[in-house]
Point group: C2
Chain length 385, copies 2
Amino acid sequence: MRDVAVIGIGMNKWGELWDKSLRDIFTEAALKAIDDGGVDHIDSMYIGNMSSGLFVGQEHLASLLSDYLGQGPIPATRIESACCSGGAAFRSAFIDVASGMNDIVLAGGVEKMNDIGGDGATFALATAADQEYEVYHGVTFPGLYAMMARAHMERYGTTRKQLAEVAVKNHENGSKNPLAQFPFKTTVEGVINSPMVADPLTLMDCSPITDGAAAVILCPADMVKDYKNHPAVKIIGSGHATDTIALSTRDDLTYLKATEIAGQKALKMAGKRLSDIDLCEVHDCFTIAEIIVLESLGFFERGKAAAATEAGETRIGGKIPINTSGGLKSKGHPVGATGIAQIYEIVNQLRGGAGERQVKGAKVGMAQNMGGSGGSTLVHILEVM
Amino acid sequence: MRDVAVIGIGMNKWGELWDKSLRDIFTEAALKAIDDGGVDHIDSMYIGNMSSGLFVGQEHLASLLSDYLGQGPIPATRIESACCSGGAAFRSAFIDVASGMNDIVLAGGVEKMNDIGGDGATFALATAADQEYEVYHGVTFPGLYAMMARAHMERYGTTRKQLAEVAVKNHENGSKNPLAQFPFKTTVEGVINSPMVADPLTLMDCSPITDGAAAVILCPADMVKDYKNHPAVKIIGSGHATDTIALSTRDDLTYLKATEIAGQKALKMAGKRLSDIDLCEVHDCFTIAEIIVLESLGFFERGKAAAATEAGETRIGGKIPINTSGGLKSKGHPVGATGIAQIYEIVNQLRGGAGERQVKGAKVGMAQNMGGSGGSTLVHILEVM
């Protein structure tokens, strides 16, 4: 396998983008990545998207987008793995370059979620859960994560306030990210007193419905010198694992097995330990998700991540800065784009370009992107070259 | 890149499978492929599926299916490229093995199309066309292909009878395929006198709505000796190309540019000429599609494939046997599974296992799988080892 680097990144301002089509949003982010990478063509592309069929009535997405990007007739493939479609697209692009099949490859992610309306979006997102054994009976994602939160609180004494601290920290970070959908700060009281969604989770424990896109450009590490707009960042680890998508068939509601396995695989490939990681983007679709992911990756012992969050260990300047971008919570969560936006943040940080939210001296970063209630997980580790 | 072989194939009986769920159908085909390949595990898998979100309200498909196959926590990725989702999944599996990332990889395809009903299926399929510039104005696929047929008839004098001959030949082949959805023979009169769908295309010019799945097992060519249930078949060429998904932005309605490019790429990689190909499965979603694909691949000059079909050159025993499986027309067209089922047929033929429809002495086969009205195309070339 060839070594692979990320040489370009692009992302648009996320939010409710009523005046733009899915193809406009993607093209905006992709052109930024192409410009940032200084490339004059791409050889193939992979698009992470969860459910454009349900959200906007459009499948066959990769061909559509390669055409709108002016890159047809290149090979273009859409990847779906629920909310980690972006991470999975990044991995496919990585394998494509590593194999020698293609050199300059774009990995993008896009989702246009608002057009369908609130009920439609809730149904579309619920297709990431088990339709026949979960959704049919009426459960959707806030309910599934609320059950995980209740189980974690019961077993480990995790408190309501500690969950809220995740949102407070991520909005603090997001307030420094000009591309975030909700770049405002909040407080523990603000989170707890926001409208109840699924007890114990309130509105401010939940990531939002977002329109947005992100894209990155990959090439063989030995070609980086030809495209030297920025410090290049090498992909040193890629881990991908699956679990049951139905919560009811899991051994343990307070742990994410696929996240643990994907994290261990990525670390092994990278030849790194967790202590080598300078910052990490994790999949905080709900506040409880960030807590359980941090324990499943091993950054904290089981049952200890909530207290560590309360103590500030996951803030910028803390033991391990988590979700410097603002995370899904503040930055937004256009599901297919989220995994690519995590890579955008890590590359931006490792280049030293993150401005007010920069982690000083960051050399190695990790991104963890998760589908559904943890039925699939991608973990990538990147290091500045 | 490592050389890659196909060592196992599996497929279920296609049709209207009201008593089986999508997960049942896939698992049945996948277990057959695993058994056929003689492998005791798989390292990763890729699932071709066009629109399970719209058809059965289920995304996050690859994780669900790896779980139901008893293969979690392996990496599992769903690939979507409309009606060539299967071909694209096969290519991703090929690249995965070729890269060295994984050894034993399953490429599967599945679609459960009947549950949603006829109008629902027509809408879901139409999401492979351009939603904003085609579908919004009321056109669906029979109409798009009817326009291509009219243009081809006008330019080259292609006749109604010649189109019908495609269906007659494919049903003749399909009548010898026990897994086909419609394994009956038909006649030119039977095709022409069937109910009109979109002039000049009648019901019997159109591929059906189908529930079905297929799966194949790939491994590095140098590991074939460890899994020697059958003659192994090597993947010697893979071509993937895209075009505009909207017909209105094409230069020429009577030609498929992405098919030409993908075919040329596959031949170049394989180091073969068209005259080396002993049989070919092509994407006959409508009778006119087979005619235009054969011309775009170069098997016949432009405007000559219809007469060649009428003269029997594409029958088993003819110059180049096309769609020995019965094609999409007779075998059925569960859109995400079709590309994998084409590989199933080619491998089965190259092993000499196709029974009554065997092409004698076949050594090299090609499969052409196409999305929408030709907005994406995959071409693979396989050779018996």
